[in-house]
C-alpha cells in the first residue's frame, strides 16, 4: 500500500501502513559488517527494528553505533574508503541488493544529524521544501506538505510568521526540529537520528524528546545517543554495542533495570564509557 496516493491529512504528517513483516520489524539487519579502510567497525551485527517504535542504540564512543545507523540508509558509503557487507532489510527488501536505487533508499529512510544542518542559503520554508521539490511536489501541494511537516515537528506555531527568513536564524533547538521537519516532509518509512540532542540545551532537548514520542505514531524511529537517561526516556527497546558488536537488545526497562550481560550493566551503571 502506498502513501503517495493519499492526500495528506492536515493534522498528521502521514498516515502509516501496518508493518509488512510478521515479526513486526520494519527494518532487519542480518550479519552486517562495516569497514573504514582497514578498520573493522561493525563485526557481524544482526537485529531488528520494530515498526512504529523507538529503538535506541547506546554504547561507548567507537562502539560502532553511529556507523551502524549510517549503514541503515547507506550513508556509510559516502565516507571515502568505507564499505559494508551483509543484509539490511526494509520490510523484506534488501536495500543493499543489486538494482536498488540508493537515492530511493535514502528517501524511504530519512536521517537527522548530530549537528543541526539546515541549508544556510535557504529560508525556513525552502529548507522543508527542499526534499519535496526534488520529488517534483509543487504549488498548493507543496505548501500543504510543508505546513504539515512543520506541524509534525512541533515548529509551526513558532515559525509560521517567518517562513521566509533564513533557516539558520532560528535557535539551535528550532534548527534541529526544522531538520526533523525537513526529514519527515518526504514521508520516509523510517527516521534515523544520530545523537540529535547532543548540541542542545536541556529545554530544547526536552522538546525534541517529546517530538520523538509523538513521531513514532507515524514513523519507525532509530536513535543513537550518548545519553542513557535519554535512551531510557524515549525508547521502547534499547540495543547496547561494544567494540563493534551487539551485546544485548531488549526492552528498555529490562536493559536499565535488569541487564542480561555484565558489560551492559557496567556501562549503564556508569562504570565505563
Amino acid at each position: 500500500m502506498s502513501n503517495d496516493t493519499l492526500t495528506p491529512a492536515p493534522t498528521a504528517a502521514a498516515p502509516r501502513a501496518a508493518p509488512a513483516m510478521p515479526d513486526g520489524h520494519s527494518m532487519t539487519v542480518r550479519d552486517l559488517h562495516a569497514h573504514y579502510g582497514d578498520t573493522h567497525a561493525i563485526k557481524g551485527v544482526s537485529m531488528g527494528y520494530a515498526a512504529n517504535q523507538v529503538t535506541a542504540m547506546i554504547g561507548p564512543s567507537g562502539c560502532g553505533k553511529s556507523t551502524l545507523l549510517r549503514c541503515l540508509n547507506r550513508m556509510h558509503e559516502e565516507i571515502p574508503g568505507a564499505r559494508a557487507e551483509g543484509t539490511v532489510l526494509l520490510d523484506e527488501t534488501d536495500i543493499y541488493a543489486r538494482g536498488i536505487d540508493v537515492v530511493a533508499v535514502r528517501r524511504a529512510i530519512g536521517m537527522v544529524f548530530q549537528r543541526a544542518n539546515p541549508f544556510p542559503t535557504m529560508s525556513v520554508f525552502d529548507n522543508v521544501a527542499a526534499g519535496l521539490r526534488l520529488n517534483g511536489v509543487k504549488g498548493v501541494d507543496l505548501h500543504e506538505r510543508v505546513e504539515v511537516s512543520l506541524r509534525g515537528a512541533g515548529l509551526w506555531d513558532e515559525v509560521k510568521d517567518r517562513l521566509g527568513r533564513p533557516g539558520i536564524g532560528l535557535s539551535g533547538g528550532q534548527q534541529q526540529r526544522l531538520c526533523i521537519a525537513r526529514a519527515i516532509a518526504v514521508r520516509p518509512r523510517v527516521v534515523l537520528m544520530d545523537e540529535p540532542c547532543s548540541a542542545l540545551d536541556p529545554i530544547a532537548t526536552l522538546k525534541v524528546e517529546e517530538l520523538i514520542a509523538a513521531l513514532k505514531r507515524d514513523f519507525t524511529i532509530v536513535i543513537v545517543t550518548h545519553n542513557m537517561q535519554q535512551a531510557a526516556r524515549v525508547s521502547d527497546t534499547t540495543a547496547f554495542f561494544y567494540l563493534g558488536e551487539l551485546v544485548e537488545h531488549a526492552p528498555t526497562d529490562a536493559i536499565f533495570s535488569n541487564p542480561g550481560d555484565p558489560r551492559t550493566e557496567e556501562y549503564v551503571t556508569g562504570k565505563f564509557g
Binding site: S2, E92, D101, V103, V105, A108, N135
Partner: protein, 291 residues
C-alpha cells in the same frame, strides 16, 4: 506489492536522467579543460622538435629576414641572466617582507596595509610593471636606455608579491613552540629568525621562489619595454639584451618560415625550462611537508 518495494521504487526517470546528464557534462567540462593543454604540448613538440639542432643552441640570431635566421643562444643566455638577476633582487625582498608580516607585523594596521597592497600587486598586469620601469629607468636614461638589468627590475617587481604571498603562508606554518624554545634559551629574536625560522621553512621558501621564477621566465611584456626591442646579441646585462619570450614574439609574425620554425623551437625550449623548474619546485614541496 509490499510497502517497501513501493517505497524503494527507483527515483523518477527524469531525475535519474538529469543526474546522469549533469555528471556527464561535468566530466566533459573537465576533458574540455584539458584539451588545450594536450593540443599546446602536441603542437609544441610537433613543430618545435624539428627546429632543434646543435646550431639552434649554439648560434645567435642573425637578424636577417631572408636566409639563415640563426639560433637562439643569446635568447637563452639572456633569459637565464635576466631571470637570475631578477631573482636575486625579488626573492630576498619578497621573503623579507613576508618575514616582517609573520614575525613582527601581526594584525597591526601597517602590516594589514602591506598585505593588502601585496595582494594588489599580484593582480597588476605585467605590462604595467614594464611601463613603470620604462618611465623610471629607461626614459630617464639612467645607465643608458634599454638594458638587461632594467628588465630584471621589472621582473623582480612581478616576482616580489608572488614570493611574499606564498612565503607568508610557509613562514606562518613554522610552529610557535620552536620560536619560543629558542627565545627561552636566550637567543635574540633576529638569531631565532635566521637560525630557526628560516631553516625550518627553507624547503617551502624554495618552492615558492621557484614557482615565482617559473612565472617570471615566461613574461614578455615587461621585457619588451625594458631590455630589448631589437634582436640583441649581447649578454652584458648593462646593454640591450635578447630573451626567449621576446625572441618568440618578434619571430611570430615573420613571413619567413625558417624564422617561424625558430619561434616554435624557442617556445618548446622555454616551456621545457619552465616545466622543469615547476617540477623541481613541486618535488621539493612534496619531499618536505612542514605541517
Amino acid at each position: 506489492m509490499s510497502a517497501a518495494l513501493d517505497a524503494l521504487a527507483p527515483v523518477a526517470g527524469r531525475r535519474r536522467l538529469t543526474d546522469r546528464a549533469m555528471r556527464a557534462l561535468l566530466w566533459a567540462g573537465t576533458l574540455v579543460a584539458l584539451v588545450p593543454l594536450v593540443l599546446v604540448l602536441w603542437f609544441l613538440l610537433q613543430k618545435g622538435l624539428g627546429a632543434l639542432s646543435v646550431d639552434f643552441f649554439t648560434t645567435d640570431p642573425t637578424g636577417n629576414f631572408l636566409g639563415d635566421p640563426g639560433g637562439v643562444r643569446s635568447a637563452i643566455l639572456g633569459t637565464l641572466e635576466i631571470v637570475a638577476l631578477a631573482s636575486a633582487i625579488g626573492i630576498p625582498i619578497g621573503v623579507g617582507v613576508a618575514l616582517y608580516l609573520v614575525e613582527y607585523g601581526g594584525q597591526r594596521w601597517f602590516a594589514q596595509a602591506v598585505r593588502y597592497f601585496v595582494d594588489v600587486m599580484t593582480g597588476v598586469p605585467s605590462i604595467v610593471f614594464g611601463l613603470f620601469v620604462y618611465i623610471v629607468l629607461v626614459v630617464s636614461g639612467i645607465g643608458g636606455s634599454f638594458a638587461g638589468w632594467k628588465g630584471s627590475v621589472a621582473l623582480a617587481l612581478l616576482m616580489l608579491p608572488v614570493v611574499t604571498r606564498s612565503a607568508e603562508v610557509v613562514l606562518a606554518l613554522v610552529p610557535d613552540h620552536l620560536r619560543e624554545a629558542a627565545l627561552a634559551l636566550g637567543a635574540p629574536r633576529w638569531k631565532v629568525i635566521l637560525r630557526i625560522v628560516l631553516p625550518t621553512a627553507l624547503p617551502g621558501l624554495v618552492t615558492a621562489s621557484l614557482l615565482a621564477v617559473a612565472r617570471a621566465m615566461g613574461e614578455t611584456a615587461p621585457l619588451l619595454f625594458t631590455s630589448a626591442i631589437v634582436m640583441g646579441r649581447s649578454w652584458d646585462l648593462g646593454g640591450r639584451m635578447n630573451s626567449l619570450p621576446v625572441q618568440i614574439y618578434n619571430d611570430v609574425s615573420s613571413p619567413n618560415d625558417q624564422i617561424v620554425a625558430r619561434a616554435w623551437g624557442a617556445a618548446l625550449t622555454l616551456v621545457a625550462l619552465i616545466l622543469l623548474i615547476t617540477l623541481v619546485a613541486r618535488f621539493i614541496a612534496r619531499r618536505s611537508r612542514l605541517a
